[in-house]
Symmetry: C2
Subunit: 201 residues, 2 copies
DNA sequence: GTTATTACTGCACTGAGTGCAATTTAATTG
DNA sequence: CAATTAAATTGCACTCAGTGCAGTAATAAC
């Protein structure tokens, strides 16, 4: 019953948030040290100081420890797209939304996760599977911006192209080490969409 | 030590092939009847008349029962691409390779699998994850056709675009029931690549 | 303080997937 | 055909991810 400004976060929420981050940090450290497959949920729970059962109150599965952070990021992209100008080309809207949210991107953590995934085909598959959420987020934003039912198919196609471009950008960024900026990779990947589809050979 | 033409298939290989198909048929039937998640490997093995352990000599995992057939198909696409003319645009090469292998596509089984995946988000994710194999197959074919190292990035990009177009084609085909031919969907999806990336919405 | 939520824990259970040793079946050779 | 080799198949025991449940501890609200 505080009168001074709606309390934004109680002790409970803060604890939850901190524990969530703590579990993630501990897990990534263990994965880097011992590999993803050989690290069991028992070890993670023990290292994080909680029960194994309680892990599932924070993450739906072992994979989600690595990927769940992206959901929040995807949600921001969807909102950015929805708030864009409907006069611009759809692909341009998506590109700008990606670029404008890049600052919230945790590069260090992403690099660590990329390292964990290297040499683990199963994890790469799951990473790929997770891309479906990015695509749905883009589609959600685009549908809010252009709600006309007739445009559904072309918006879906734009979502597919966009998620492909983003994957390509991430790929080149990871490959070229830290010598290149992720934003440049994104710009280039979306440029490629226009170039590649009309060139001969 | 037969002299009359190299024997193409022994009893062993034929049995293996037949059992492989049989297991697949039985599994799809059970999945349709009782759902994917609720059907256990024990049930599948029992219905197929083999031991549970032996299932893993045919499929690496439960998912692979649904997806492993595509590998053979992907391999044919890779070979078709590799045998194409290097004078055509890359995207055109891929489109033709897809179209020319469409006859080998088991539409009935694909429809059944699509039905199983409907309302099962986890399976849809795994389906998406499997797309990585299609992309690798396309990339493999393209790399054989244009081995120059400098072209790697653009070929990778073409692979990404192609797998996206194929997914879109599959989506529209499944959505519009049997009223439309899959080949038409593929043609349209690749046309869209050229249209969508230059238009101003 | 008391009470209602929510967080956490332990336990027992299911089901996928693996390693291993033993057995059966098919292919090969003399 | 008999003996040998190789592959297919099986059962068993095991690990680990994930779930349901019932009970306990901590926090928020009154």
């Amino acid at each position: 019953m505080r009168q001074e400004s709606t309390k934004p976060e109680g002790l409970r929420e803060r604890n939850r948030r901190e524990k969530y981050e703590h579990i993630t940090d501990v897990s990534i450290r263990l994965f880097l040290e011992n590999g993803y497959d050989t690290t069991t949920l028992d070890e993670i729970a023990h290292s994080a100081g909680i029960s194994r059962r309680n892990l599932f109150n924070y993450f739906d599965s072992k994979d989600e420890i690595l990927f769940s952070h992206l959901r929040e990021y995807y949600e921001m992209i969807a909102e950015s797209i929805a708030r864009s100008s409907p006069d611009e080309p759809a692909l341009e809207v998506v590109r700008k939304a990606i670029l404008s949210n890049l600052t919230r991107f945790d590069a260090e953590r992403t690099l660590a996760i990329a390292k964990i995934m290297r040499n683990n085909a199963a994890l790469q598959s799951k990473n790929r599977a997770n891309e479906i959420n990015l695509e749905k987020a883009i589609m959600k934003g685009l549908s809010a911006l252009w709600p006309a039912k007739e445009s559904h198919d072309r918006l879906l196609f734009v979502s597919i192209l966009s998620s492909g471009a983003i994957r390509f950008a991430t790929y080149t960024w990871l490959r070229d080490g830290n010598e290149i900026k992720l934003s440049d990779c994104v710009v280039e990947a979306f440029d490629r969409l226009k170039l590649e589809t009309r060139c001969t050979k």
